[in-house]
Amino acid sequence: MNTMHRLALAATAFVGIAAAAVGARADDMNDPYRQPALDALKGKSIVYLPISIGFDLAQAWGGVVKTEAERYGMKFKSQDPNWNTGAMAQGLTSLIAEKPDVIVTQNPDLQSLARLLKQANAAGIVVIQMNMQGAVQTDAFVGPDFIAMGEQAAKMVVAKCGKGTETSHKVSIVQGVLTGGVSYYQVQGIKKVFDANPEIKVVSSQAADWDASKARAITETVLQQNSDLCGVIDVWDGQGVGTGAAIKQAGKQDQVYFVTSGGGAQSMCDRLADGTFSAAINYDAPGMGRDAFTAISAVLQGKQKAGTVKFQLYSPTRVMTKADVKAGTCWDPEQYAKLLR
């Protein structure tokens, strides 16, 4: 009886100590850094103003930023200027007066918004530029290093069409909008590599205005003129669909090596799988959305004035071919488009 009593006492004491210990641990685990971080984000407002909300990249960026913003109790609003630079400048002007905490935007070209973005920064608004950097640096640029990507695409073409290959060495470049960052910087990179490989003959370098139909018409004519064309680089997979269609319809898929790049939406995987693209450089648009939110989170927690620290967040890229395409490799834009509705 006595032993039983002692045993029970010991057991109770043990449970008590254990409970106290666990309790103390739980108290210790109360992260002192969490609350300030949450407070820095809560209630802040983000306005999303890309060139258009109608295309896959912008849908992924906005969808991810919105999801994360709502997770931390931030306000998220999006505006759709629908490819109209004028409407975009107007929207930005009224936003500067409205003073949200953060603007996430995308430049239609190098110059149009540069001054306004500078003003927004000066007004204390954090400005994140997506994919197409303007002529001014703000808190963060999020996007691939397009010059390096251009070099990479050009090197891939040189490997197939350069010195030592039994080809015509003829290459064609399909640009987007001449002054658009994505196009302009990629072409800089491409030129650099081709200049170092003088055997490569660039037979055409024209802008297709981000339009698949124009890209198709241009490439069809280029193929007529140069039936021995060896390689094609298109600066964006959205218009590359048309470029690829021209190559396919000319029956030259075996002869022409076609590289393009994009954010990795399902259409990219589909075109790789059916052989429209020989290879594609994927810069993972949802990943860019995450980078954008990381930048927002970092700048807001830093509490310094907008535009104090400026950085370039280059997105990781991945070269994909038909062999890399599996179920779920690419993402469905519809899923993000729904979030932004």
């Binding site: 024209q206 205005d209 698949a212 139909s213 890209a215 069809e220 007529q224 003129q225 509705r341």
Partner: protein, 326 residues
């Protein structure tokens, strides 16, 4: 002298310009005259030509349809999206076609019965069709890719018939039908009568309002066909074309060929000549590696040249001046 200048109406001026350009390009550009290049030249303006025929039918009745490109893009993109989401290809195509006809029917009623000037009615409808389509019909990206189950429809924009690319064949068939319709059917002749003088056509017993409505519905149907050719050749329907200056290119093709915007004057041949000039220009400049911004400048200069030459050779007199040009 008078007879000589009469011979050179705008259509002939433009045709002469086209031939001159052809000769210049043939002499200066390698492989320009190769049959495959000439085919690709015509092919590149096939869609523009088809839309031009739709515009012709409206313009002949002294109207204008600025909603053609919007109707084309949204109706076809919606068809493709319906097909991609599991609807059978035939019913998806049928739905898109009915949408195109329905929208242009509304346009026609606004113009014929509510008597809203066509310029404003179609401008408003273009915005409505595009806005409604982007908000409620095409819910994903603004570029709709060809679904894998596209099947035989794809042959409208791809492949060839007896060595002639299909878009050219489709354009030729539409042109033939439009020619027969305008030339040999009663409604076709009525359109000319209305465009020439609406009041006298009405007094003469022409059912003016129904014919006006029919013009826009036909144009809407043609726009759907043009859209199918566009989508199947580029393997995607890009609804952003609505924001581009394509509708002005369509008007350019029609006006360049010598169709009078004041109505009642012009035929299918004018559209073909206009489209050919644009085709020769674009093809030559693409071979020369000229950027499209410069191409637009050259295109507009050619249009101005054609108009200036026309107004010198065929000066306006009091009668033609009163026609109420747009």
């Amino acid at each position: 002298m008078r007879a000589w200048s009469h011979y050179f109406n705008q259509e002939r001026i433009v045709f002469t310009l086209t031939v001159l350009l052809l000769i210049v390009f043939a002499l200066t550009l390698p492989k320009f005259l190769a049959p495959s290049n000439l085919l690709s030249l015509v092919r590149s303006v096939a869609v523009l030509g088809i839309l031009g025929l739709g515009m012709l039918i409206v313009v002949l009745g002294r109207g204008i349809d600025l909603s053609l490109v919007a109707t084309m893009a949204i109706s076809v993109a919606w068809s493709l999206q319906l097909a991609a989401s599991g609807m059978s290809m035939a019913s998806a195509m049928g739905t898109g076609f009915l949408f195109a006809l329905g929208m242009s029917l509304v346009t026609g009623i606004l113009i014929a019965y509510a008597e809203i000037p066509s310029l404003f009615a179609t401008l408003a409808m273009a915005t409505f069709v595009y806005g409604f389509g982007r908000a409620h019909l095409i819910t994903g990206t603004d570029v709709v890719y060809l679904p894998p189950n596209i099947g035989a429809v794809a042959s409208l924009g791809q492949g060839a018939l007896f060595g002639i690319p299909m878009p050219i064949v489709v354009a030729a068939v539409v042109a033939l039908i439009a020619y027969l319709f305008l030339r040999y059917t009663k409604p076709g002749r009525f359109i000319y009568a209305i465009g020439d003088n609406l009041a006298s056509a009405r007094i003469g017993g022409v059912p003016v309002r129904p014919i006006l409505v029919a013009q826009y519905v036909i144009a809407g149907g043609i726009a759907f066909v043009a859209g199918l050719v566009t989508a199947t050749s580029a393997e995607a329907m890009n609804t952003r074309v609505v924001n581009s200056n394509m509708i002005y290119d369509v008007i350019l093709v029609v006006v360049l060929g010598g169709v009078g915007l004041s109505g009642g004057r012009g035929n299918v041949r004018n559209v073909i000549v206009g489209a050919l000039l644009i085709g020769v220009l674009m093809n030559g400049m693409t071979i020369m590696d000229v950027q499209y911004t410069i191409q637009n400048v050259v295109k507009s200069l050619i249009l101005l040249l054609a108009i200036v030459v026309d107004s010198i050779v065929n000066p306006r007199d009091e009668q033609t001046g009163q026609q109420g040009d747009i």
